[in-house]
Amino acid sequence: MSIEQVLFYVFAVAIVASASAVVFLRNPVGSAMSLVACFFFLAGVYVLLWAHTIAALQVLVYAGAIMVLFLFVIMLLSLTDTGPLVQLTPSRAAGALAAVAVFSALIVALKKLPDVAPGWTADPSQVARFGTIQYLGEVLYTKWLFPFEAVSLLLLVAIVGAVVVAKPRI
């Protein structure tokens, strides 16, 4: 096993563990902190994929800014430490079964992957350039301009929508 593979498994196990903790912890602050941990480990996977910029943004924006807001909201709502225990009803059991079925299908699908991903290049000059801010900026503002502008529309709509929903009462 190469060092990358070892690191990948470390991060992967940590991601699954912290993501499960987000769901299963009964204390909302604990859940939020597990989510921060999950974001950090995910950033590690991005680094292994040569996506340095995305990894840095992941830590700065998600683990930093957004999670602080999450914690503020949890504190403002002053939730009790422990949420209600989930009762097992027939519809929940059916939902759990469906989730297990989807996961099994995914495991079957992902079990046999090609050794080399399509579009992958081992050319060192390209690999070194790949995750940099310069390359990201070039691609984003030339090739991906239309989706990029669509994102700006999405953010505008999200802001207006959030203000409308947050208004006390119309």
Partner: protein
């Protein structure tokens, strides 16, 4: 410059939305009568621009991220018509509740811009982003009026389930990207056959997840659970916009995505999936609508049934040539030897059906909104059939319009709904789906029961004693008259519109 032609309708809508949003800030006047006029004019201008685009030759624009084809342009045109009509309905509805604000119209126009952009997106990430634009706008519109418990529940349910379904779509697209290394649909079409040969499991799971994501958006059974609650809880004009616009835009995108994936799979697979979805959706939608006494909820279930008829058209598009699929009622039986699937007829059927459905459903929800009173918010029987009893004596004009909408939804001539069903079912028969078409006709006959029940209540039951006079505003009358006239006119004279919609080269890359 030619590259930006397809963006003109969406850009018009966005500019109109921003103007309305800023006017709310800078014109601090309590008189907001101009807003509905600005919103309607914007939608009409966008509709005209889209109509203009529909006669351009189909081509790929913006480096392959979008297409300019008549299919998406006609769809944009219909969405703009639906937006204008729902805006007019909303004006009267909100004025009565003292809740008319610029941001409402802004969000409606943003949603329409998202629908227009979704219809022309030709790349998975762009599709996802534009789907989110329209979804985020409709989520917040659903929770716009939060009086009573129901709207908050509806908004939350729609948001959670919508986000879940969008993530399914995104995950499916990611798996397809993993198998092929591309996200543009035309490149995917070329790369997928090889990937399906080497990585079949990945391609099939990706296909299934993308299908599930779209099925949520068009409210196909078994992904329809959210529809009745959300349609009932949302403000009625917003429900009209959702059932007309969101569904049409999602259908266009669904057809585009699956046509690109068609070549990689054995022809029975997409066909059987769509045929089964169509059958289940038509039957379940109609059966669930039957026991409803709540007219708004009944219309929600009926919109599920109509998604089923549209899926029948989609299944006809994927019907394998020659009788290779045999599965009971889903079997493909060529009438005269091997039938070549006439894709043009299917596009015409789908578009005409969507046009007829847009004007009909906006009108029907408009009538529901018209007789809804502000005092009803705390009651539980707001939309009960009893409220329609004797409407013909109290409001003869509205009752006649509502009767036209109900007949059109049921598919009775001479209405737009009849011609739409005729086109879709005859395209299905031409493609050899006789069993499925018969099932569709039987389902729509069963549906007549609950549509005509509303008519019976309006015309043959006495008015209840405590019936109150409804709030009247000219915008509501304009919306109802326009849609009623359109429903009957499209039913009597479908010729010119059908001719526009049967242009060759409807869908870029597929004829």
């Amino acid at each position: 410059m030619n590259d930006f032609l397809p963006l003109i309708p969406a850009a018009t809508l966005v500019v109109g939305a921003i103007v309305l949003m800023l006017s709310e800030v800078f014109l601090a006047s309590a008189n907001r009568g101009y807003m509905v006029i600005v919103a309607t004019l914007t939608s009409v201008v966008a509709a005209v621009a889209a109509f203009w685009n529909a006669f351009e030759p189909a081509r790929s624009v913006l480096q392959g991220y979008a297409v300019l084809d008549p299919f998406s342009s006609f769809m944009t045109c219909m969405v703009c018509v639906g937006t204008a009509l729902s805006g007019l309905v909303a004006s009267s509805f909100l004025k009565h509740r003292n809740a008319e604000r610029g941001e409402f119209y802004a969000l409606v126009l943003f949603a329409a811009a998202g629908m227009s952009l979704l219809a022309l997106s030709n790349e998975f990430i762009t599709i996802f982003i534009n789907l989110e634009v329209l979804s985020v706008a409709t989520y917040s519109l659903t929770a716009y009026l939060r009086r009573g418990g129901r709207p908050a529940e509806a908004g939350f349910k729609y948001f959670i389930l919508g986000a879940f379904s969008a993530s399914l779509l995104l995950y499916g697209a990611a798996l397809l990207y993993g198998a092929t290394g591309v996200t543009k649909l035309d490149e995917l079409e070329r790369a997928l056959p090889l990937a399906a040969a080497t990585q079949p499991a990945l391609v099939y799971v990706g296909f299934g997840l993308v299908l599930a994501g779209f099925a949520f958006k068009v409210a196909a059974v078994p992904f329809h659970m959210w529809t009745p609650d959300v349609y009932e809880g949302a403000p009625t004009p917003v429900t009209a916009l959702m059932s007309a616009g969101v569904k049409s835009a999602a259908f266009v995108s669904l057809v585009r995505v699956f046509l690109a994936m068609k070549g990689a799979l054995p022809p029975e697979v997409p066909y059987l999936l769509f045929a089964a979805l169509a059958l289940v959706t038509m039957v379940a939608g109609n059966l669930l609508a039957m026991p409803q006494r709540n007219v708004k909820r009944m219309l929600a279930y009926s919109s599920i049934a109509h998604a089923g008829y549209l899926l029948l058209g989609v299944a006809a598009l994927f019907a394998p040539a020659g009788a290779s699929a045999k599965a009971g009622v889903l079997a493909v039986t060529p009438l005269l030897g091997g039938t070549a699937v006439a894709a043009g007829d299917v596009y015409k059927g789908l578009l005409f059906y969507l046009l007829g459905y847009t004007v009909t459903t906006v009108g029907a929800f408009g009538c529901v909104a018209a007789i809804e009173r502000r005092e009803d918010e705390t009651r539980t029987n707001t939309w009960d059939l009893e409220r329609f009893a004797g409407l013909a004596q109290r409001q003869p004009g509205w009752a006649v319009a509502m009767a036209a909408f109900m007949l059109s939804l049921a598919g009775v001539p001479p209405t737009a709904g009849f011609i739409g069903k005729l086109f879709v079912f005859s395209a299905a028969v031409d493609a050899g789906l006789i069993g499925l078409a018969v099932a569709g006709v039987l389902a729509s006959v069963a549906g007549t029961y609950y549509y005509l029940r509303v008519v019976v209540y309006m015309f043959m039951r006495p008015s209840p004693d405590e019936a109150t006079a409804p709030f009247r505003h000219w915008t509501m009358d304009v919306a109802l008259v326009t849609s009623a006239v359109a429903v009957v006119a499209l039913g009597l004279l479908p010729g010119p519109v059908a001719q526009w919609l049967s242009r060759a080269g409807m869908m870029f890359g597929h004829f």
